[in-house]
C-alpha cells in the first residue's frame, strides 16, 4: 500500500501551526452582530418577569429576545441520526430554566462589550423552585424537571416517562443470571460511580450566520455534526431545511462537546429575524455551565465465578444522571452495557439494566467513550476485585474469560440493529495480542516482583507503588444507523475533488480520507483535494462521533473511488478507442493492452473540452453492517504518598487493536491524548456542584485537566490487525483509548495501599480517607 498505513503529516498542518485564521471566529464577518446569552443562576425556576429597560439603554444593544418572542417548538439538541433516540424536551428559550446555566434571554448588540453590558443589566425575576439534584432520588420525585406536556419522543423507545423524571429505561439479558450467580463459588457485589467529566476542548463553542445571495441562512459553526445541525435548526426555527446551509471550518477539538447543537441556535435565529450577520463565541465559563458533561453514572455490579476463575455471570445495573435534558440519555446508558458486557463472552449469563433520570444538573452529553467509559470503569474494577478474591493474577483472569479472535457473543445479536439470528463473529479481534503485548511491554511480572521487593524501602520514603490493568472495547460507527457518503469528482487537469460530509475535528480525518482516496485511485496524494463538512456540497455524513469517521466515511470513500475507477475505465476506453476489458487505470495513467496510454491530465482535458464532454463524478455510500470493535489493554503503575494520599501515575502502557492504522502516527497521538484524558478522569477532573446546583468547577482554575507535569511515561503500541469489513482493514481508535485508564489506575492504587476507590476521581483526600478508615 502506498498511502494507507503511512505516517504523513496532516494536510492542514501548515495553516494550523502558522496560526492562520481558519477557525470559526476568524472567519466571522467584522460587522456581525454580537450575541450574549443570559443564563440562569438557579437550578430550577420559572421566569416570572424580564425587565429589559436598562439593557436597551446600553449603547449598541439592538435586540433582546425572551421565550415570548420565539415560536414554541420542542426539539432535541442531540447530534444523532433521525429519528433521534432522544426526547424532544428543549425549546430555544423557555419559561422554565432547568439547570444553573440554562438559557434565559438573548442579547444582541453591535459589539461584544455592549452585548455583555446589556446582559449584565437585564433584570430577570424568577420563581425559584426546589431543584432536584440527587439522581438517586430523581425517579418519581415530587420535583418534575419537565412539567410541560409538549415534550415527546420521536421514536417509541421503552422507558421514557416524563412524569417520573425518567428519560429512558432499558436492558437486555442472556441466559439465566440468577442461576449463574447461584452456581458461583465466589460472588463480588459492589457499587461504582463515575463522575461528570468536562470535555474541555481548547476551542469553545462558537458560530456565526449570515444570509447569502439567495436569501438562505448560512451557519458556520465549530461543530462535529453539520448535518444534524441543519436538520435541528430547521425544526427549532420553523424553516425548511433547504433554506439552511451549515459549514464547519477548522475547529479546535470537540471530544463530544460539539456532538450536540448549542451555539448555533442563537445566531441562526438572529440572522433569520434581521437578515444581518450575527455571531456568538462562548466564554469558557459558559462552556462549563451552558453545554454538557459526561453522564455521571452509578453501577451496581454482581459478578459470579467458579473458584478456578471461570466467570459464570455478570449483572450490571446502571443509573445515569442525564441532567436537565435527555439528549444522549438513552444511547449513553445503553452503551455502558452493550459495549462492555461483550468483553466477557464466555459467561453462562449476563444482564444489563440501565436507567437515565432527569435532574436539575448540567445536562449529560457526549464525551469520548460515550457510556462505555463509565461502564468499563465499573466492570473492569469489579473484575479486578474478583481476581483479588480468587487470588488470581488479573491478567490471567482476563485471558481466561475475555473474548478472542473469531469468537462471538449473543449480545451482538441483541444490540446490533438489523442483525438476524446468525452469530456475529469478532473476526478481527486482537484483544489477546493486546494483552500479551502489553503485558510484555509493561514487564508485568518483573514489575510486580520489583515492587514487592522494594515495598519496605519505599515505605521508609513514605511511598508505596502498585500496578493494575484493564481491557476495553468500543465500536466503529453504528451498524445500520449512521451512514456516510463520499463523492469524487474529476477535474479538467487530472486531479480530484473529494467531497465528504465527514467532520475533521482536529483528528486529521481530512488527511486520512485523502490517503484512502489516493490509495483507492492509485494516484499521488497531491491529486486529491478534499472538501468537507458543507451541507450544500458534501454528501451526507452523520458526523464525528461513535468512532465512525475512519470506518464508515473511509468505506464510503473507497466505494466512491471504486465507482470512479469504473467511470475512468469506461471513458478511457472511449478515448483510447478500445474495449473496456483491455483498459486499465494505474498510477494515474490509463493504459490499453495494445500499448496506447494517456495521462489522467490529458484524459480529463480531452473529455472536458474536445470530445465526449462528460463530467466524471462518482458517489459512494456506506453504513456499517456488523460490529467491528477496536480493543485495548491498559497497564498502569502508580506511586501513592502514604501520608497525603496523593497518587502519581508513573507509567502507562496501552496496546490498541485498531485494525489497519491508515496513518499510524495520527493513530498513536489519538491513543496518547485519550490516555491523558483518562488520567484526568481517574485522578484530577470532576464537575463539582454546590448544594444549590451551581457549578463550582466553572473555570480551568477549578476544573483541573492534566498538565505536562502530571504526565510521566506513556507508551503506546498499535496492534495492527485487519478487519475485512474496514477500509483497508481499519477499524477505529478515537474513543477506546480512554476506557482502560481509570480502572487500571484504581487497581494499581489498591495494590499499592490496599484501598478500593470505587468512585472517581481518586483525589488525595479520598485516598487518604480510605487509607485511614479501612485500616
Amino acid at each position: 500500500m502506498k498511502y494507507v498505513n503511512d505516517s504523513i503529516k496532516k494536510i492542514d498542518s501548515d495553516a494550523l501551526l502558522k496560526g492562520k485564521g481558519v477557525y470559526t471566529d476568524d472567519l466571522a464577518p467584522k460587522d456581525a452582530l454580537c450575541i450574549k446569552v443570559v443564563r440562569s443562576p438557579h437550578a430550577f425556576a420559572k421566569i416570572t418577569n424580564i425587565d429589559d429597560r436598562l439593557t436597551r439603554k446600553v449603547a449598541g444593544v439592538e435586540m433582546v429576545l425572551t421565550y415570548k418572542d420565539i415560536k414554541r417548538i420542542p426539539f432535541t439538541r442531540a447530534g444523532q441520526c433521525y429519528p433521534e433516540l432522544s426526547p424532544y424536551d428543549k425549546f430555544v428559550l423557555d419559561e422554565y430554566v432547568r439547570h444553573v446555566g440554562d438559557d434565559v434571554a438573548i442579547i444582541v448588540a453591535e459589539n461584544q462589550k455592549s452585548a455583555e453590558m446589556g446582559a449584565k443589566r437585564l433584570k430577570v425575576t424568577y420563581e425559584v423552585l426546589d431543584p432536584l439534584l440527587d439522581y438517586r432520588k430523581a425517579e418519581g420525585h415530587k420535583t418534575l424537571v419537565h412539567p410541560e406536556e409538549d415534550n415527546f419522543i420521536p421514536v417509541d423507545f421503552v422507558g421514557y416517562d416524563r412524569e417520573k423524571n425518567l428519560a429512558t429505561e432499558m436492558g437486555f439479558e442472556v441466559g439465566e443470571i440468577t442461576q449463574a450467580l447461584e452456581d458461583s463459588d465466589v460472588v463480588i457485589k459492589k457499587t461504582y460511580e463515575s463522575q461528570a467529566q468536562a470535555q474541555a476542548m481548547m476551542e469553545t463553542q462558537r458560530a456565526f450566520s449570515y444570509e447569502d445571495e439567495y436569501g438562505r441562512l448560512v451557519v458556520v459553526s465549530s461543530t462535529q455534526i453539520p448535518f444534524h445541525v441543519r436538520r435541528t435548526l430547521a425544526r427549532a426555527l420553523d424553516m425548511p431545511m433547504s433554506k439552511i446551509r451549515v459549514i464547519k471550518p477548522r475547529i479546535g477539538g470537540g471530544f463530544g462537546s460539539k456532538q450536540s447543537i448549542h451555539a448555533e441556535f442563537y445566531p441562526a435565529l438572529i440572522t433569520k429575524m434581521t437578515g444581518k450577520p450575527s455571531k456568538i463565541v462562548y466564554g469558557r465559563k459558559e462552556v462549563f455551565t451552558g453545554t454538557t458533561s459526561r453522564h455521571k453514572m452509578k453501577f451496581d455490579i454482581t459478578l459470579g465465578a467458579t473458584k478456578e476463575g471461570e466467570i459464570l455471570g455478570i449483572e450490571m445495573n446502571a443509573l445515569s444522571d442525564t441532567g436537565a435534558y435527555g439528549e444522549h440519555a438513552n444511547t449513553t446508558v445503553g452503551a455502558a452495557g452493550k459495549k462492555v458486557l461483550t468483553l466477557y463472552n464466555k459467561v453462562k449469563a449476563c444482564s444489563f439494566k440501565g436507567k437515565a433520570v432527569y435532574t436539575n444538573n448540567l445536562p449529560g452529553g457526549a464525551l469520548r467513550g460515550f457510556g462505555v467509559t463509565q461502564g468499563t470503569f465499573a466492570l473492569e474494577s469489579a473484575i479486578n476485585e474478583l481476581a483479588e478474591a480468587l487470588n488470581m493474577d488479573p491478567v490471567k483472569l482476563r485471558e481466561m474469560n475475555m473474548i478472542k479472535k473469531g469468537e462471538t457473543t449473543p449480545i451482538y445479536n441483541i444490540i446490533t440493529k438489523g442483525s438476524g439470528p446468525e452469530p456475529i463473529y469478532m473476526d478481527s479481534c486482537e484483544l489477546e495480542a493486546c494483552v500479551q503485548k502489553g503485558k510484555a511491554l509493561f514487564a508485568w511480572e518483573n514489575r510486580k516482583n520489583r515492587i514487592e521487593k522494594d515495598r519496605e524501602s519505599q515505605k521508609i520514603k513514605g511511598k508505596a507503588r502498585g500496578i493494575g490493568m484493564a481491557i476495553a472495547q468500543q465500536g466503529s460507527g453504528l451498524p445500520n444507523i449512521d451512514m456516510a457518503g463520499a463523492t469524487i469528482k474529476l477535474n479538467d487537469d487530472g486531479f480530484f475533488t473529494l467531497l465528504v460530509g465527514a467532520t475533521d475535528i482536529g483528528t486529521g480525518s481530512d488527511t486520512i480520507l485523502s490517503q484512502i482516496a489516493a490509495e483507492a485511485l492509485d494516484v499521488s496524494l497531491d491529486k486529491i483535494n478534499i472538501h468537507a463538512s458543507d451541507t450544500d456540497v458534501s454528501p451526507f455524513d452523520s458526523g464525528a462521533y461513535a468512532s465512525s469517521t475512519t470506518y464508515t466515511s473511509g468505506n464510503a470513500v473507497i466505494e466512491a473511488c471504486k465507482n470512479m475507477n469504473s467511470l475512468i475505465i469506461e471513458y478511457g476506453a472511449k478515448v483510447l478507442e478500445e474495449n473496456r476489458e483491455n483498459i486499465s487505470f494505474e498510477k494515474g495513467k490509463i493504459f490499453s493492452k495494445k500499448g496506447k496510454e494517456i495521462s489522467l491530465e490529458a484524459f480529463s482535458k480531452k473529455i472536458t473540452y474536445s470530445m465526449i464532454h462528460q463530467q466524471l463524478t462518482a458517489t459512494g455510500s456506506f453504513v456499517p453492517k456488523k460490529a467491528a470493535p477496536p480493543y485495548m489493554a491498559g497497564f498502569a503503575e502508580v506511586e501513592v504518598d502514604l501520608d497525603t494520599g496523593k497518587v502519581d501515575l508513573l507509567d502507562f502502557v496501552g496496546t490498541v487493536d485498531c485494525g489497519t492504522a491508515i496513518n499510524p502516527m495520527l493513530a498513536r497521538v489519538q491513543a496518547e491524548g485519550g490516555i491523558v484524558q483518562g488520567i484526568g478522569m481517574a485522578l484530577y477532573e470532576e464537575v463539582k456542584v454546590n448544594p444549590k446546583g451551581k457549578l463550582k468547577s466553572n473555570t480551568f482554575m477549578e476544573y483541573k485537566i492534566p498538565t505536562r507535569k502530571d504526565v510521566h511515561t506513556i507508551q503506546v503500541e498499535l496492534i495492527e490487525g485487519h478487519d475485512d469489513t474496514g477500509p483497508y482493514g481499519a477499524k477505529s481508535i478515537g474513543e477506546v483509548v480512554i476506557n482502560t485508564v481509570p480502572p487500571a489506575i484504581m487497581e494499581a492504587i489498591y495494590q499499592a495501599v490496599g484501598v478500593r476507590i470505587r468512585s472517581l476521581p481518586a483525589t488525595p483526600e479520598k485516598v487518604w480517607r480510605a487509607m485511614n478508615t479501612e485500616k
Partner: protein, 267 residues
C-alpha cells in the same frame, strides 16, 4: 469584566501615590492579570511600570527587591535560590505556567494578601520588611495580619540574609491546581519560623509551634508533638479542594516533611 476610565503611567512614586489617592476608585495595577478575574470599576489605573521597580539587588546583608519584580524573576534568581535553599523557586514553581509568572508582580501579591498564595507563605518565614510609600517600613508579618493603615503602594521589600535552612512544602491535586495546603519553614540558628497557608485562609505564622520547637532536637517524638501543636493552633477550613479534617492532618504531614528535610540538611 472590569472597566477602566483612564490609564496612567506615573514617572515618580509621589505622582503615583497622588493619583491613587485622588479618587476612591483609582487603583494600582501590578501585572493586571488577576484584576481581570474580578469585576472592578476603576477610575484611573495607576501603572508603576515606568518607576524602575523591577529589580533584585543582592547586598551584603539583604536582598532588596522592587515591587514590580515578577514571580519569574524571583523564581530564577540564582542569588536568592542559593541563599534560601530554593525556597522561592519551590513556592513559585507550580503556579500555572511561565507566562503568568512573567506577569505577576510581588508588590501586587503582597498588597492583596491572597489566601491561596504560595509565595506569601514562603516569604513569611524569612525576615522581610515591606516598604510602603506612605506607611514606611513594616514587617511582612504585621502587614499580612493587619493590612495597610490607609491606601498605600508597595514600593519594595527587603529580605535579610540570615544563615539558615529553608523549606517549602505543598500539597496539590494536579500540578497547576491551587495548593490544598502549603507550608514554609525556616531555621535560623535555633530559631524556627513556620508558616501555613492555603488553609484555605492566608499564610500565618504558627507561633506556638515555633516556640515549641525552639532549641529542641529533632526527634520523632518532638516532630510528632510539634505537629499536634500546629494542628491545635492553626485554623483550617473546608473548600472545594479539601476538607477541614484533611487539611488539619496534612498540616502535620507537611511540617514533618519540612523538619525531616531540615535534619538531613544539618547532617
Amino acid at each position: 469584566m472590569i472597566t477602566i476610565r483612564t490609564y496612567y503611567f506615573p514617572e515618580t512614586m509621589e505622582a503615583a501615590y497622588e493619583k491613587l489617592t485622588e479618587r476612591r476608585n483609582n487603583a494600582v495595577i501590578g501585572g493586571g492579570g488577576y484584576l481581570k478575574l474580578g469585576s472592578k470599576a476603576i477610575g484611573t489605573a495607576v501603572d508603576l511600570s515606568n518607576l524602575g521597580l523591577d529589580y533584585i539587588k543582592e547586598e551584603e546583608k539583604s536582598f532588596e527587591i522592587g515591587a514590580m519584580t515578577t514571580f519569574a524573576g524571583m523564581m530564577l534568581h540564582e542569588g536568592l535560590n542559593q541563599h534560601f535553599n530554593n525556597l522561592f523557586q519551590r513556592a513559585i514553581e507550580d503556579i500555572v505556567g511561565m507566562q503568568l509568572k512573567n506577569m505577576v508582580t510581588i508588590g501586587a501579591t503582597i498588597y492583596s494578601r491572597y489566601g491561596f498564595s504560595d509565595f506569601l507563605t514562603a516569604l513569611l518565614v524569612t525576615t522581610t520588611k515591606v516598604k510602603l510609600y506612605k506607611g514606611g517600613w513594616i514587617s511582612l508579618n504585621e502587614f499580612l495580619e493587619n493590612g495597610p493603615k490607609e491606601r498605600d503602594i508597595v514600593e519594595k521589600i527587603s529580605i535579610e540574609k540570615t544563615k539558615g535552612f529553608y523549606s517549602f512544602q505543598d500539597l496539590r491535586g494536579s500540578s497547576s491546581d491551587y495548593s490544598i495546603l502549603n507550608l514554609a519553614l525556616s531555621k535560623e540558628g535555633d530559631h524556627y519560623r513556620i508558616a501555613l497557608g492555603a488553609r484555605p485562609g492566608r499564610a500565618k505564622l504558627a507561633v506556638k509551634t515555633m516556640a515549641f520547637l525552639e532549641g529542641k532536637e529533632l526527634s520523632e517524638e518532638h516532630m510528632e508533638k510539634a505537629g499536634e501543636v500546629l494542628t491545635k493552633e492553626m485554623v483550617f477550613g473546608t473548600n472545594g479542594r479539601g476538607s477541614k479534617e484533611y487539611r488539619r492532618a496534612m498540616g502535620k504531614v507537611l511540617l514533618k516533611k519540612a523538619l525531616q528535610e531540615g535534619s538531613i540538611h544539618e547532617d
